[in-house]
């Protein structure tokens, strides 16, 4: 720091005014930097604020731009001058999307997500209980297998999927897709729930057993409450995954347009409307809105689940 700096801190603001007149020894940057401690800001704070600003622009702008693009009247998106916000708000793009079958897609996605998430929880809670509370041969190996299935991408099975689902009689059915999601998504849920079960002391189980509770009653009356946050996390997670999933649904549901989910519907919509960016933007907004609403309300649990589900044992 230069002599001016120490002079200014001693002399306060009045001293600073004087030193400003000497541009040769102090650049604008230095002046700002020297002033920072006075208002309680460290130089590193500024760097961090810049990181925040850039991150918000990079991550939030695309979503906001799509919202803005979707609200334009026809033609405004491609006329001078370029506008960040629509000059006049029009919902015509949304009308176009809804007349293309958006209600059907929303209905299918909702029913598949609700039933899918419920089934995943129904299957993974008992399994997580077993992994946490039973000692049996092959337990480690089985848990390792579950973890392995969690790691392997579901994209790999799309080639045989048509044959497999046909032989099971589940091709082009919602039930088939839901069962498929149960198979694909339970490993992660089991892993996460087992962590919650493990945090509940076994003494609680023993006490309940002495009082005459069966395992099922113990689970229902004693364990369900402490693991409820885990079930919530599993529910949020699987809601996002199921709602967003594309390639499995595309393969299983095929050309049966009555059964199409939001991702398939929007994909087909955009291949059909090619360069109608306004309509594509409107379809995107409708497709992500339900998740955004769920997420903004529950993001704290989401973060917790992500850390706990992926980083056990660290």
């Amino acid at each position: 720091m230069t002599d001016d700096g120490t002079e200014r801190t001693d002399g306060g603001l009045a001293g600073e005014e004087k030193t400003v007149t000497d541009p040769a020894s102090r650049t604008a940057f230095q002046r700002v930097r020297d002033r920072l401690p006075v208002i309680g800001v460290r130089p590193l704070d500024i760097v961090v604020y810049i990181v925040y600003g850039l991150a918000m622009v990079f991550f939030a702008f695309p979503v906001l731009w799509v919202v803005s693009a979707s609200l334009r009247p026809e033609g405004e998106l491609f006329s001078y001058p370029f506008r960040l916000f629509p000059q006049e708000v029009s919902l015509s793009a949304y009308e176009q999307v809804f007349s293309a079958g958006m209600m059907t897609w929303l209905f299918n996605s909702t029913i598949i997500t609700v039933l899918g998430v419920a089934s995943i929880i129904a299957v993974s809670v008992p399994a997580a209980y077993a992994f946490s509370r039973f000692e049996f041969r092959g337990r480690r190996g089985l848990l390792g297998l579950v973890l392995m299935f969690q790691m392997i991408s579901s994209v790999i099975i799309i080639v045989p999927l048509y044959t497999v689902m046909t032989s099971l009689g589940l091709i082009r059915t919602r039930a088939g897709l839901i069962l498929l999601y149960v198979g694909i998504q339970t490993p992660f849920s089991i892993w996460l729930l087992k962590g919650y079960f493990d945090t509940v002391p076994r003494e609680l189980d023993y006490a309940a057993r002495i009082d005459g509770c069966s395992r099922l009653q113990t689970l229902r009356h004693v364990l369900l409450r402490p693991i409820a946050p885990g079930i919530a996390v599993v529910a949020i997670f699987n809601t996002v995954l199921t709602w967003s999933e594309f390639v499995l649904a595309y393969t299983v549901l095929g050309t049966e347009s009555d059964l199409h989910t939001i991702s398939i519907g929007i994909y087909n919509f955009q291949s059909q409307f090619g360069n109608d960016w306004r309509a594509i933007a409107a379809a995107s907004v409708v497709g992500m809105l339900p998740l955004v609403i769920v997420f903004i309300g529950l993001q704290r649990y989401f973060v917790k689940g992500l850390i706990e589900g992926s980083l056990k044992g660290q």
């Binding site: 961090v48 008992p126 077993a130 799309i158 995107s284 997420f295 973060v303 850390i307």
Partner: protein, 313 residues
């Protein structure tokens, strides 16, 4: 007399059923059965089916198929196109991993610092980053299609125009198209690395920082000699998970470029999809799936090794 006998029988029958169900409930199998069935039918069976299919010349448009041994694999391995796809996949995955982990680290550090210092905006930043992550893959492809419109009316091209650059053909130039998919992938995936690393930062014992401070370590020295070594396992695990994730990316690229222009952004998963469902060569598609499965298993092995699963289970 007869009814009393029947009553007794029924009662004994019920008793036996109850006893059986009680014994069953004390056995882990019934608890695990639904999971085992689901995993067996919808994960294991399709994987085995993929392996069997890859040994045949099965096609979507022809009845019946013949066993061809390892023909699909030898043909795949002698096909220069396959190596081109591998190269594109490797570029995509490698750049994604670097960007995800680096951006994730910077954001995690910035947010951690902001929380400790009580700065404004750390929550908004976190929510913005996570928001990008929950957008469905297909829609991400479309969002970036709208962002990267190639005339001066596209948002990105407009701002580049203000700087005197462009308009840039983000999706029709082969090399830029690959860059665009990497940017869109980073937009989605950074949240995951950020959260993982942020979680790791919370587990660094504060006394290490205090000890370093007592020893006169500056901020950079503390980062270099305390934070980074403590984060090493988290960074490694994150890298492996992001690699697996990036190698299997499908929906985002499918919607953004569809693998084009030409085959400039055709990663392995899209290559597999095209061979199986657009060229109807199921056998060949299955062979690519098996190659992808092997890569996945290899990386999973690395992950499990790092995880030190022996302690956990």
């Amino acid at each position: 007399m007869a009814t009393a006998d029947q009553d007794g029988l029924v009662r004994r029958g019920f008793g036996r059923v109850r006893g059986l169900s009680r014994r069953l409930i004390d056995h882990p199998l019934p608890w695990l059965l639904p999971t085992l069935v689901a995993l067996g039918v919808f994960q294991l069976y399709p994987m085995i089916e993929a392996v069997t299919m890859s040994l045949t010349d099965e096609s979507l448009i022809r009845q019946g198929s013949e066993f061809v041994g390892l023909d699909q694999y030898t043909r795949l391995l002698s096909d220069p196109e396959f190596y081109e796809m591998l190269r594109i996949t490797a570029i995509y995955a490698f750049s994604s991993v670097i960007l995800h982990v680096l951006l994730g680290l910077v954001l995690a550090l910035a947010i951690d610092y902001g929380v400790r210092r009580g700065l404004h905006g750390h929550l908004t930043t976190r929510v913005s980053v996570l928001l990008a992550w929950i957008v469905p893959g297909i829609i991400i492809g479309l969002v970036w299609k709208v962002m990267l419109v190639e005339t001066e009316f596209g948002a990105v091209n407009h701002f580049l125009g203000l700087l005197g650059i462009g308009p840039i053909p983000f999706r029709s130039d082969p090399q830029l198209a690959l860059v665009s998919t990497i940017i869109a992938g980073t937009w989605r995936g950074t949240a995951f690395s950020m959260i993982m690393i942020y979680g790791g930062l919370q587990r660094v014992p504060q006394r290490l920082y205090e000890a370093a401070r007592v020893d006169g370590a500056g901020r950079w020295a503390r980062f270099r000699h305390v934070t980074l070594p403590q984060l090493k396992p988290v960074l490694f695990v994150t890298t492996v998970l992001v690699t697996i994730y990036a190698l299997n990316t499908f929906d985002l690229i499918f919607a953004l470029t569809g693998g084009g222009p030409g085959r400039a952004t055709q990663v392995l998963s899209l290559f597999m999809y095209e061979e199986a469902f657009e060229k109807y060569a199921l056998g060949r598609g299955a062979a690519i799936a098996v190659v992808m499965l092997c890569i996945n298993l290899l990386l999973t092995g690395v992950y499990l090794y790092m995880f030190d699963i022996g302690d956990e289970i």
